[in-house]
């Protein structure tokens, strides 16, 4: 599991109205709301980078969100390895092949 801290910016006047919807996005929790600047601090919990990216994208696409930027990323510590490599296949230079 990984956790990222995201700062979202909305128009200050719209903050109260938008916050409930944002908090319902998968993996998202709102921690702080700064009504003066229109900034929210969210965390996103995700199983994978895939989920993280999609999670951040969902926030960015949320109507009324001006920007959503990644600030803090706590990595999972149980993934990745440095196993011996599998035999490599030479790319085919034949035309008509990917």
């Amino acid at each position: 599991m990984s956790y990222s801290g995201i700062v979202v910016r909305v128009r200050p006047a719209a903050l109260a109205e938008l916050a409930p919807g944002l908090s319902e996005l998968p993996g998202v929790r709102i921690h702080q709301q700064d009504t003066d600047s229109g900034r929210l601090v969210l965390t996103l919990e995700a199983e994978s980078v895939d989920e993280e990216i999609e999670g951040l994208r969902q926030i960015q696409r949320f109507p009324g969100v001006i920007s959503a930027d990644l600030v803090y990323h706590r990595l999972p510590t149980d993934t990745g390895s440095n196993r011996p490599n599998q035999p490599l296949r030479t790319p085919d230079s034949q035309r008509g092949e990917n």
Partner: protein
């Protein structure tokens, strides 16, 4: 994980996030954040992924990266990261990370046709040495090549240049940055006589008009885009406007106030329209232009950077290739060149494309005269569904923005300009309009070239890892520059080869025709990233040559190589990068490289131990060498001169170039390391600090010449987040050429003090009329360049334009970002973005698997008619990150003839169901 633990983690992450962006915290929250990070070591670093150069902080624990965050003190990004920020930490931990040297072997011997077998470093270097010496003997030094990168750290690039140019006396080293910003460099050198931008990112907060020319910043430079968006949305008083000039609607259009969808290469004509309007509306800043500028032009018949003969061309390629030698002008080209439509023009100046001369303002005015609103609308309108009236209004509005004296205007561009068959011209034109209205080198005003790679500026350009360059804007063809480099490098006179080496496209062609037989790929993936790739893969695999690839993951280039060397990644080594605003930033080694992976510096230095000066500094043949003092076409024997300098015949290149007396005085360990390791120094084991010694040696080139860098240790200070050069008396420079900010300016207001190409003959629009050169000290050049049509265009057979580019989640060729296991599911297989009508006309629908075919190859992709890129009819876009969809098998290897940068944006394809 218990709920309590998860809550704890979330609250701690939230507290740390709030702290990073300056949202106030309670003392309980502060304590929580601290507790969650207990036992961590934080240190500053730089994002690995693009030329913006965002500062990050990296946390490590027990030799592993546990967290990253945007650096709140970094002026570039102010605590924020884009989505690529997820990868800085994770990128090292992919499951197929290369951790041991692999060589093609059979029965214990190297065999080009065999599969890869793990070997020791000693065995790997033994084979490299054997192969390199064989090639040196057979081909001379230029038979050896390095394909380097804008992802080199400064010390890596410097070591590579010195090894090749000072050690092997070969200039056959060129970076993939050639593909990225060589046209920008030519623009800077031709216009200002010195490389790199006048302005910087602070312009964003000072400007009220942003014009994007072939730069999808929302997708490719999101943090800068965030700053622009912030300015656009939050500024109360300023009337901030954004213009997006593009060949299709992209993510940057969402925020744009004005979008111009144009035909490929029409940017050349639009720039001339703006210049014509500036003159017609009497809006030239006469005082600025008369005091600080001259007008210039050059030849138009310069070819397209393709091979001149067709002996290596596929049959299907030969019709386009023939245009390298002569071209029939269309009516739009003919008008700008004052010729007749249909006239066939021999490309006489394809070998001298960069020559130029001064012209009068009257000639300049005459040259832009054909580019009227009507003419350019007809030429440039890219969306068949847009009305002529609508496009005309947009063009006029665009000109208004440049002309309005109350507007501070910044032009940004990236690959749309640079990867262009007339990329150098269109770069020059960007300055043309900024100079005409005096909106250059002032806060909030300037033409600004963005870059794609993290150290395309700081290393590839400034260090000079190009075939023709030496450090700090010097070039091998200039005898004074060679002499200066030989002095700093403590080399005998005439050590450096005066013949410019092959550019990276040509290194590929050299492999194909057997001119280069030993190539070392470093920090990049050229066999995927070079256009017309089928040729080069075949050349690598089927010609008698030896290809070494230092890499971190099994990229296409690793897989076509003969020997793979496992490399250390960014935070596994010490390094410095230089970003697009001249900011040099540094980081320490944070974690050890895995397995037997080693830094590129270590690899080059170990290789240098294998060659004595007696072996490489004898007389050397250099095919095609023609230079004053080299009438026999050979590099002279400099061994006796080396002896007189105190070198011994069996001194190795390692001892002479790298671990010499001066550098050995820079000791490892060093207090600047705090408690950080240096695996490079430890493995070399002879007590010096290579990255620091090489960097501080390199700074000798630029000091006092407008390229001043600070000392190595300065960049590692806790209170420094990079410095923008020139750094003079400890102070960075925000706006160059402007007396208020730049200590190099001696004039009262502005001085374009670059020294290159500042003595010119005079002429008219077609030719030199007075060959006597006169000096232009302190001046910038306003170039006239005509519209030129793309060399390959859609026809009956290949009926659609193909453009390539990036998507946000991926960078470079995806060898790093695609490694993170789930990352590439976000954009699973490259899509071919097509207009719905074009799809329907071919009986295709969204998500169909289709063939894309050009004269050069064919590939499969998934058809996309919606999504983030919205095509105009007639245009296809395919991202280039995905080796499963190898788009460079389709692309044309035509380049800008001045910069030799490939045009990845314009070729012709057909699309049909697979």
């Amino acid at each position: 994980m218990s709920i309590t633990r998860r809550d704890f983690m979330r609250d701690a992450v939230a507290a740390a996030t709030a702290a990073a962006v300056g949202v106030p915290l309670t003392s309980a929250e502060q304590a929580l954040a601290k507790e969650a990070e207990s036992g961590w070591r934080w240190d500053k670093g730089v994002c690995r992924f693009c030329g913006v150069g965002c500062g990050i902080q990296i946390a490590t624990k027990e030799g592993r990266i546990v967290a990253t965050k945007g650096d709140p003190d970094a002026p570039v990004n102010r605590g924020l990261n884009c989505v690529k920020g997820y990868f800085n930490g994770r990128i090292m931990y992919g499951e197929d990370r290369l951790t041991e040297p692999l060589m093609r072997m059979k029965d214990g011997r190297f065999d080009k046709k065999a599969d890869f077998v793990p070997v020791s470093w000693d065995r790997a270097f033994d084979e490299m040495e054997r192969q390199a010496k064989k090639v040196l003997d057979e081909k001379g030094p230029t038979g050896l090549a390095i394909m380097g990168s804008g992802q080199y750290t400064v010390p890596e690039g410097y070591a590579a240049v010195k090894l090749m140019k000072a050690g092997f006396r070969s200039n056959t080293i060129d970076p993939n940055a050639r593909h990225c910003m060589a046209s920008a460099v030519v623009g800077f050198m031709q216009v200002f006589g010195i490389d790199e931008p006048a302005g910087n990112y602070d312009d964003i907060e000072e400007a009220d008009t942003f014009v994007l020319w072939g730069a999808n910043m929302a997708e490719c430079h999101p943090i800068l885009w965030s700053r622009i968006a912030n300015r656009r949305i939050s500024s109360d008083a300023a009337d901030v406007k954004i213009v997006n000039i593009t060949t299709f609607t992209n993510m940057s259009s969402d925020l744009a106030d004005l979008e111009l969808v144009i035909k490929p290469s029409a940017d050349l004509a639009i720039q001339n329209y703006i210049a014509r309007e500036i003159i017609a509306r009497d809006a030239v800043d006469k005082e600025f232009v008369e005091s600080h500028c001259v007008f210039a032009t050059g030849p138009y018949d310069i070819g397209y950077g393709m091979r001149a003969d067709s002996s290596f061309a596929y049959d299907a390629e030969k019709d386009i290739q023939a245009k390298e030698l002569e071209v029939k002008l269309d009516r739009f080209e003919a008008a700008g060149q004052r010729r007749e439509p249909g006239e066939v023009v021999k490309q006489t100046n394809r070998g001298s494309a960069g020559k130029h001369w001064t012209i009068s303002f009257e000639d300049f005015k005459k040259a832009v005269e054909p580019y009227t609103l009507e003419f350019v609308t007809e030429l440039a309108k890219g969306d068949p569904e847009e009305t002529v009236e609508s496009f005309r209004e947009k063009l006029e509005a665009l000109a208004d923005f440049y002309i309005n004296r109350d507007r501070n205007l910044v032009s940004f561009w990236t690959m749309g300009f640079n990867q262009h068959q007339r990329g150098s011209w269109v770069n020059e034109q960007a300055y043309m309009n900024h100079l005409l209205v005096g909106k250059q080198a002032r806060p909030g005003n300037g033409a600004f070239s963005l870059t794609g790679q993290p150290s395309a500026c700081g290393t590839a350009r400034e260090v000079g890892t190009f075939g023709h360059r030496l450090p700090s804007d010097m070039v091998v063809a200039n005898p004074a520059h060679r002499a200066k480099s030989e002095k700093i490098w403590k080399l005998p006179s005439k050590a450096i080869n005066p013949k410019p080496g092959s550019h990276i496209n040509k290194i590929m062609r050299d492999l194909e025709d057997g001119t280069v037989k030993f190539a070392w790929v470093q920090v990049n993936n050229p066999f995927q990233a070079t256009a017309n790739a089928n040729h080069w893969i075949t050349a690598a695999r089927e010609m008698d040559n030896f290809i070494v690839c230092s890499d971190v993951y099994p990229s296409v280039s690793a897989k076509v190589a003969d020997l793979i060397l496992p490399a250390a990644m960014i935070f596994e080594k010490w390094g410095l990068y230089g970003n697009a605003e001249r900011r040099t930033q540094a980081w320490r080694e944070q974690v050890p490289p895995p397995g037997d992976a080693r830094s590129d510096v270590w690899q080059m230095l170990e290789f240098a131990k294998r060659f004595t000066i007696d072996e490489v500094w004898g007389e050397q043949k250099v095919p095609g060498l023609k230079a004053e003092g080299y009438e026999d076409g050979k590099l002279p024997d400099i061994r006796q001169a080396a002896r007189e300098m105190g070198y011994k015949p069996d001194s190795t290149l390692y001892e002479v170039l790298f671990a010499n007396d001066a550098n050995r005085k820079v000791k490892w360990p060093d207090p600047v390391a705090k408690d950080h390791e240096n695996h490079t120094a430890a493995l070399l084991g002879d007590g010096w600090f290579p990255e620091k010694a090489l960097f501080d040696e390199y700074t000798q080139f630029g000091r006092g010449h407008g390229h001043d860098l600070a000392d190595f240790d300065v960049y590692y200070r806790d209170d420094v987040r990079g410095l923008r050069w020139p750094v003079v008396d400890g102070k960075e420079t925000q706006w160059r050429f402007n007396a208020k900010y730049d200590p190099y300016v001696k004039a009262p207001d502005f001085e374009f003090y670059g020294k290159a190409l500042k003595a010119l003959p005079q002429g008219d629009l077609d030719k030199v009329t007075n060959p006597e050169k006169s000096g232009l000290a302190g001046k910038a050049k306003i170039f006239f360049r005509p519209y030129a049509a793309p060399v390959e265009q859609p026809d009956e057979n290949f009926d659609l334009w193909l453009s390539t580019g990036r998507v946000l989640e991926h960078w470079h060729t995806g060898t790093m970002t695609r490694r993170v296991p789930q990352l590439h599911r976000a954009v699973p297989t490259a899509q071919a973005f097509v207009h719905p009508d074009d799809a329907a006309a071919r009986n295709l629908k969204r998500n169909d698997v289709v063939w894309l075919e050009s004269r050069r190859g064919k590939i499969k992709a998934v058809l996309e008619t919606h999504g983030r890129n919205r095509m105009v009819r007639g245009m296809v876009f395919v991202p280039f990150f995905d080796e499963g969809v190898f788009v460079n098998k389709l692309t044309l290897d035509a380049t800008c003839p001045l910069s030799k940068e490939t045009d990845f944006k314009k070729c012709a394809v057909k699309v049909y169901k697979a």
